[in-house]
Symmetry: C2
Subunit: 284 residues, 2 copies
């Protein structure tokens, strides 16, 4: 599998790089970022890896430029992989109106079944299978110690991919996730387009519905700002928390007073999330 390094910068003694490759799942060129901690600082063996899933309108750049995760990743010995949020390569369709919440930058971490999306918009297969295999092959990463986390649309991606594939992503945390997409405008618009009108097909991409059917053995952490303007209209973590409690899913939902939906919120708590994953992955 050919991997092209687009950029590289030294960061906290390690390397923050961006790569491009030809994706089979998305049938186009895809980009992803990888942070690797200082070589040799954490022993000779492969390291745990976290997959960060970004929110609407983001690319692979937002998280690596704004979250400030490299400091704690360098200290703890964590590789962090941050893919783009949708296919963008040749042939990948966009919303006809260029909406920010459908098409490019809005892949929703699912495998589309409806035209014109179904050929390229296969972000679930990309993130859960193709990319982890590539990372384990080409980077000093232990495929048995992978976790997933993300923000907003990417928090939805993290929760759903973990609940469907706890074997792949053994740990899961989220910032302000779209926690009940079947109930909110962002989710309903995207699922209608990508999955069609039959709502029964939507349930396997809805964290609140998934957790009711198949809670995981992991303890999930969610941080949510109480000054986030999307809290009640688009995110609704309380619905997920109620379903998790009923199903016996271990969950810590922290309502963070005064925080909004921005990367200032993410940066404030990113170290907590890295430590949460590290504690649970390091000795597996």
């Amino acid at each position: 599998m050919d991997l092209q390094r687009i950029s590289s910068a030294k960061s906290f003694g390690g390397e923050q790089a961006v790569y491009a490759h030809q994706s089979e799942a998305c049938a186009c060129a895809m980009r992803f970022a990888v942070y690797t901690p200082p070589a040799g600082a954490h022993g000779d063996g492969p390291l745990p890896a976290l997959f960060w899933l970004s929110g609407l309108t983001c690319t692979e750049e937002n998280f690596i430029a704004k979250a400030g995760a490299q400091r704690a990743a360098a200290e703890l010995g964590l590789v962090i992989v941050a893919p783009d949020t949708s296919p963008r390569g040749e042939g990948a369709p966009d919303d006809a109106q260029g909406a920010y919440d459908l098409g490019l930058g809005a892949g929703f971490y699912l495998d589309a079944t409806e035209a014109p999306w179904d050929r390229h918009y296969n972000m679930a297969a990309y993130v859960a299978d193709e990319l982890p295999a590539l990372i384990a092959e080409r980077f000093p990463v232990d495929p048995g110690r992978m976790g997933v986390f993300g923000h907003s649309m990417g928090g939805h991606g993290a929760l759903t991919l973990h609940l469907k594939r706890p074997d792949r992503f053994k740990t899961c945390t989220a910032f302000a996730p779209i926690a009940a997409p079947c109930e909110v405008p962002w989710g309903r618009k995207a699922f209608s387009a990508y999955l069609g009108a039959d709502e029964t097909a939507w349930a396997r991409y809805d964290a609140t519905r998934l957790v009711a059917e198949r809670p995981s053995d992991a303890h999930i952490l969610i941080d949510q700002g109480d000054a986030d303007g999307f809290l009640e209209t688009q995110l609704r973590p309380a619905l997920f928390a109620a379903a998790a409690e009923k199903a016996g899913q271990a969950l810590t939902l922290r309502m963070q007073a005064g925080y909004d939906h921005s990367y200032y919120f993410i940066a404030t708590f990113i170290e907590d999330h890295l430590r949460w994953h590290h504690e649970r992955l390091r000795d597996r």
Copy 2:
């Protein structure tokens, strides 16, 4: 003086805000960012303040989004003020060719004497006088405990404003500063346009020439990546270090192996710089 709050986000328990106001020095509306640490966490008295000066093409946004300075500022109790890099308001002229290194985004922290720049391009007066007075009046800041730091063009600004006004900015550090602007293309182009053809007028905006005439009592810290592509063509910290040594200026110049000119370099060492200023300002 009217101050308009453009944005605000909670960050590490404090507030990251952006303000606009009408500047007298620049004769137009100007924007600046202010980070204030968690209220009450550092006693009741006014706090030390650091003025961050950004590099070419930046606005007040780059530093606050990418440097990750808020974490250490919250811990240490430092206010950080980050102005825009040039006038941009109504009437502020730009380079006719739209060059990135002259005009908008390239104010070079000087007071222009040549038309068409002289009416608005007065960033030295703005940063050293107008803005500190405004900050001391409207924020919980001690005007006797102010420091200055910056990156590239802003490192040049920090060194020159400190050396000319050690009473105003008692501490000074820099990342990859344009340390000898009279000797390099970026500096010669800007100074020719803003200050005219007579090079004798340039010396008071050249850190290497200034330090020879008037070293300060402070101990200056400079971090410079040795993989920075601009090191020998545009920055030349060795010229400044030689002049500083000859003049008796206390200086620590750290050549950082493998680091480039990016915010990944800045983020890696920003905590060191905040601690450097804090150590020297806290007990004054």
